[in-house]
């Protein structure tokens, strides 16, 4: 064959990659809260006012707003946490932007003066959790290989959409995947021991960190409390299995990726309840022949009334999950006619 068709294939391939990139940007919207763009004022540079709440012994959480990404909240919607070890500090997730990461690092320095940051875990690749990585020592950043790969593949597209949504809050932010892939189920960091479990379902790889000293489990976005779960990369059966694994995990308490610290495990029940309702509702909408817009208008049960952004997350989930359910529920049509 002449080289011409190959050249075409190459072109196609790079095009396909571009689509994957755009698809990543689209997927971002799930937690992105792409509402109508707001006019930006020319006021002073924005700054995050982060507050550390002690949730266990020598363990602090910086709570995210139970909202979508907006220019009002600067994208600070996910929980970040830090733990004091005898010899330094461990950080879990770094927030949505370079500026947030810097504010978080400053908060750690203020709270624990002179303590070095020894390890930064990324629980999964979503930008509201990891786009503050830049502000931390490169050698401390660590995540499972699959999380690093997802950050590497989708980082640019996710960043483009974050800039589109958050504007100046994102200034200078460059996706910074960790250089260190975790390959142990247990790490001793600065004299404190952490067990690491790779689960999946919210994304293709969700890292769960358990602090052996306090029994506090950092569940990442496998668990949401009082905020509707996001599903852009969700695999519902895998997510349910991971929730069951978390329920079995020995623990004193649990920190969801979004929502307050949860000693009783209510976040696991609430997340499962939401996922079950979501899937059941979508299946029924396909079986009844409803359009996607009709499905989006389904009333949300009263028991979810207290969940933040339930309506917007539900509408997004319709787009994420309906097509897959249609493939399953619509029957192969007899050909000819």
């Amino acid at each position: 064959m002449s080289p011409a068709p190959e050249a075409t294939e190459d072109t196609q391939e790079s095009g396909v990659n571009r689509r994957a990139l755009l698809g990543g940007a689209a997927a971002l919207a799930a937690f992105a809260g792409i509402g109508p763009l707001r006019a930006q004022s020319h006021a002073a540079p924005r700054s995050y006012r982060l507050e550390a709440v002690e949730i266990a012994a020598r363990t602090w959480c910086v709570y995210g707003a139970q909202e979508d990404l907006t220019r009002a909240n600067g994208g600070a919607i996910a929980n970040a946490a830090f733990i004091q070890t005898p010899d330094g500090v461990v950080v879990i997730d770094t927030g949505p932007s370079k500026r947030y990461g810097e504010a978080l690092a400053q908060l750690v320095a203020d709270r624990l003066p002179g303590k070095r940051i020894l390890r930064v875990y990324n629980t999964h690749h979503h930008p509201d959790h990891v786009f503050g990585n830049q502000a931390f020592p490169r050698e401390a950043l660590a995540a499972p290989q699959a999380v690093i790969e997802a950050m590497t593949a989708q980082g640019e597209a996710l960043a483009a959409n974050m800039y589109r949504i958050l504007g100046d809050w994102m200034r200078g932010t460059v996706p910074t995947p960790p250089g260190r892939a975790l390959n142990a189920s247990r790490e001793e960091i600065g004299g404190r021991v952490f067990t690491l479990t790779e689960l999946k379902g919210h994304t293709a790889c969700d890292l769960v960190v358990r602090d052996e000293e306090t029994g506090l489990v950092f569940a990442g976005d496998l668990a949401f409390l009082d905020r509707a779960p996001t599903t852009p990369n969700a695999d519902l059966p895998a997510w349910r299995a991971s929730l069951a694994a978390l329920r079995r995990m020995e623990r004193e308490s649990l920190l969801p990726g979004h929502g307050p610290v949860d000693p009783a495990g209510a976040s696991l029940e609430q997340t499962l309840d939401w996922l079950d309702w979501l899937e059941g509702t979508l299946r029924e909408s396909v079986a009844r022949g409803l359009t996607m817009n009709e499905a989006m208008a389904t009333p949300i049960p009263a028991r979810f009334a207290a969940l933040g952004v339930a309506r917007t997350e539900f509408e997004r989930s319709v787009v994420h999950l309906r097509t897959r359910l249609e493939e399953e529920i619509l029957a192969e049509a007899p050909s000819g006619g």
């Binding site: 095009g15 689509r19 109508p36 022949g289 359009t291 989006m296 249609e326 049509a333 007899p334 050909s335």
Partner: protein, 270 residues
């Protein structure tokens, strides 16, 4: 204050009279969304008299979760109840590189109602124009906020080597409500290439027709490339539709023909 000298005024009046003469019925009403593309979109998609009419329902989300799959539902049942049968319903997106998305022609046995998904290249107004027997286009419009690129990236199918082998493959479902209303859902495999992705020529489903066992056409569609990959539609029939199946025949822009049928549920379900 502007003073116009008599000769100039005369010229203005003469011009106004000329342009007002036969074409006055075609005057395009101002766009509530103030889109710079509106006049072109109107001329190409809704040729004739146009009014914006709240009886035409256009449902789409405020923001595109996925610029490759924007769900749209068009519904002119309330309008049809007042003005009679609807002849065609046209969906167009102002700022897509190909503005026209679909033309839907419901027959006597179909409700003027359609669920579909479109691709959007950027944040854009989306319109539906509905034409009844009086020839007037009654239009509804809304803006969808979107990240870029929905019409200029290759279909996901091109990431797979064997996509041609499943071209046109269909899945479908008919469900009947207590009220006797039948809803038809179907999805056909097709990449729906717009021609704007590097190295991928335009290639999309074009015409599609649904026929009842009696031979009567239930509905027809003219489909353009901005319809999402693996086009999926939801239709609503009138209660009087009977028979064992609806036949679907389609043709794409390369002349490939596809045919399948959607089995109908029995009359006495529930």
């Amino acid at each position: 204050m502007l003073r116009i000298r008599p000769p100039a005024l005369g010229a203005v009046l003469a011009f106004a009279a000329l342009s007002a003469a036969p074409a006055s019925a075609q005057e395009i009403p101002p766009d509530p969304l103030k889109s710079g593309m509106w006049e072109l979109v109107a001329e190409e998609n809704f040729p004739g008299e146009i009014v914006f009419d709240p009886r035409v329902k256009l449902s789409l989300p405020a923001a595109a979760e996925d610029q490759f799959h924007v769900p749209v539902t068009i519904d002119a049942r309330a309008l049809a109840a007042e003005i009679g049968p609807i002849e065609e319903m046209v969906v167009a997106a102002d700022l897509n590189p190909i503005i026209h998305a679909v033309t839907f022609r419901p027959g006597e046995k179909a409700e003027p109602f359609l669920g579909l998904r479109i691709k959007v290249e950027q944040t854009t107004p989306v319109r539906v124009g509905v034409r009844g027997a009086d020839g007037i286009w009654r239009v509804a419009a809304a803006v969808i906020d979107a990240a870029g690129g929905g019409c200029s990236a290759p279909a996901a199918a091109h990431g797979q080597k064997d996509w041609m082998s499943t071209l046109g493959e269909a899945r479908a479902l008919a469900s009947r409500s207590d009220a006797g209303e039948t809803r038809l859902s179907f999805r056909m495999r097709h990449p729906m290439d717009t021609g704007f992705a590097a190295g991928v020529p335009i290639f999309h489903l074009g015409e599609l027709s649904l026929t009842l066992e009696s031979g009567e056409e239930l509905a027809g569609l003219e489909i353009s490339a901005p319809i999402s990959e693996d086009p999926t539609f939801n239709l609503l029939t009138r209660p009087s539709v009977g028979g064992a199946a609806v036949s679907v025949a389609a043709r794409d822009s390369e002349g490939n023909r596809f045919a399948f049928s959607i089995p109908l549920p029995g009359e006495a379900v529930n």
